[in-house]
Symmetry: C2
Subunit: 368 residues, 2 copies
């Protein structure tokens, strides 16, 4: 069956390939049971690409990614790569994809599944029903700013440096995404920086404030310092709706938020580019929030749900298949309700299952 749904599958390292494989079973199911087919391609990234090609991302794979409608990404990294030079570390593959595909908007929902409210380290009433969206700028800031390097100083010591930098257009485009997201949610955006210390933060706050005046109809905008935001996430996460912040703060705050849901093995993310004015398409990459988890790789016990939900985001944001996304998300809720758990989310009284058995049950749910 012909299709223009081009999806590049990059399993990567550790449990990445294991959980991606499970999603491909759902893709198969969609083709067989709903006559929706995808044009799939597979590739290597991270340590796996390094092992084969000496680089964590080949130019060919990058070209395939740019050419696709969506990249389904697993995870990268592993202890065996810890001593590789900086420029060929597994992470560079992911960072290069983000940068070259211009995936500036990273959507990280932090939500608590009904079945999982007790799994949080926070008290139940603080997190049950939690549903916040962390929007992280993904292609700017200290991750890519120039100059950066390690210089030898005359006295024999060294200096390591990085540049944190944001321009007005970079801040505006992520701000617009934040406002758009908020309008479909609770209408509140908290913009997070360190404007009391950093000049990039001063500009960030100024641009967000102006953008809000010009284009923020229907949205309430607040500002918060990053250190306070970390506190507030721990104190009372439900106070937030959409949090928008820069690349580095977003890295830390979204991980903090993800962990406090207690549902880390179940959280997806989407990294989106700008919508092309001609084709109406946008570059996109979908990946679970959890990493490569080398300690449990190869054991068949990884939780495939975060990768499944990442695929659901792809259905929604890249393939205009909201109905199938809903269906998949509902099936996941049902499987959880039925008491099945992978090891990472195991609770008293539940049934512990392997990666594949989790997917088996999910497919059965979809069949219903």
């Amino acid at each position: 069956m012909a299709s223009n749904r081009k999806m590049l599958v990059l399993g990567g390292d550790g449990i990445g390939p294991e959980v991606v494989k499970e999603v491909l079973r759902v893709v198969d199911w969609m083709a067989k049971k709903r006559s929706v087919s995808f044009d799939l391609q597979e590739g290597l990234v991270g340590g796996a690409a390094y092992d084969k090609h000496g680089t964590p991302l080949t130019d060919e794979t990058l070209a395939d990614a740019v050419d696709s409608d969506a990249v389904l990404f697993g995870a990268v990294g592993g202890t065996q790569y810890d001593d590789l030079p900086f420029e060929v570390k597994p992470e560079r593959g992911l960072l290069r994809l983000r940068k070259e595909m211009d995936l500036f908007a990273n959507l990280r929902p932090a939500m608590v599944f009904d079945a999982m409210a007790d799994a949080s380290s926070l008290k139940r009433d603080l997190v049950s029903g939690l549903d916040i969206m962390i929007l992280r700028e993904l292609t700017g800031g200290v991750y890519f700013g120039q100059p950066r390097g390690i210089d030898d100083l005359p006295d024999g010591t060294k200096k390591g440096y990085d540049t944190q930098v944001y321009t007005t257009p970079e801040i505006e485009r992520i701000g617009r995404v934040a406002f758009d997201l908020a309008r479909k949610r609770d209408g509140r955006v908290t913009s997070v920086e360190k404007a009391n210390v950093m000049m990039s933060g001063v500009l960030w706050r100024e641009v967000m404030t102006n953008l809000h005046k010009a284009e923020g109809e229907g949205v309430v905008l607040d500002h918060m310092y990053a250190d306070n935001c970390a506190m507030q996430l721990v104190r009372n996460p439900k106070q937030f709706d959409v949090i928008v912040t820069d690349n580095l703060f977003g890295d830390i705050l979204s991980d903090c938020a993800a962990m406090l849901t207690g549902s880390l093995g179940m959280l997806p993310s989407a990294s989106l580019g700008a919508v092309d004015e001609v084709t109406g398409k946008r570059h996109a990459l979908y990946e679970p929030v959890h990493g490569s988890a080398p300690d449990i790789a190869g054991k068949g016990i990884a939780n495939p749900i975060a990768e499944m939900l990442s695929f659901a985001m792809a259905l929604r944001y890249s393939f205009d298949m909201g109905e199938e996304a809903d269906m998949l998300e509902q099936a996941i809720q049902n499987v959880l309700k039925s008491g099945l758990r992978t090891a990472d989310i195991m609770q008293d009284g539940m049934a512990r299952v392997s990666t594949t058995v989790m997917t088996d049950s999910l497919l059965k749910e979809l069949d219903k």
Copy 2:
């Protein structure tokens, strides 16, 4: 009574002056009951200094601070100063003190008081008995790195930028403090950076590793990425002993850790300079972790305990008065055990008291 215990008292803004005032009652008590006197001086900082002098820190006050054995600091900031130009914002007063006094080592204990284990948003068993030390580098990194600024670009937009920079000696000196602290505690140091993304992080990890080989006897050193550290703090804070990290990560992670103790209004901090090889003295500033809390300022309900414990740290680190420090800390424990609580830490079944009544009881405890 003559004394060379020179202490500069800078109450600052919001609840700062209120809690500092309570400590001065303990200082009085020490003079009367233990014949230990301090050579006290008071000054303005932050918004209070700006209101009077047009600057958040005058050169005279800075000179007094440099000349003192310890600065007892309250807090700075308030909404009425939000629109001041960056260079005269209240925070600049504090940042200038840190930089000019070269207070590179910021000790932020995150501990849970027995009486307070239920006040945490984390489940009780995850935090009860928690006692970790976050050591934050305080005079380097993106807080002070050059160049920094906001430039107008040719196309009419702007660029805001900051420089994150660390040198070998800067990393080594904070690493030494971490190892020293760990030796008096559980012997474990976790060094935190983003060596997978930042060049300053690559150097940080390299220098810590080398320093550990050369001078780390009796200490186990681990490395962790900052995003993972935020997660691990939420997941299981008791896994840590000493965390050492840079200025920006330290700002966020120490606030996160402070909040999860549930004892925010009770946490002190010490900011220390290098020990002078001739005099054996070091510059030092002591301040509570909580800020100026403008919303409760002037109401007489602020919790004075964090400032009291900051003074206890001053007794221990600057005045070699470990016995008095123990005494004060014990008195605080006893007052809490007796059921007194200020509003911020109020719990069912306890007695809610004002700032001054809390101190009254403390003085009575000291009298025993």
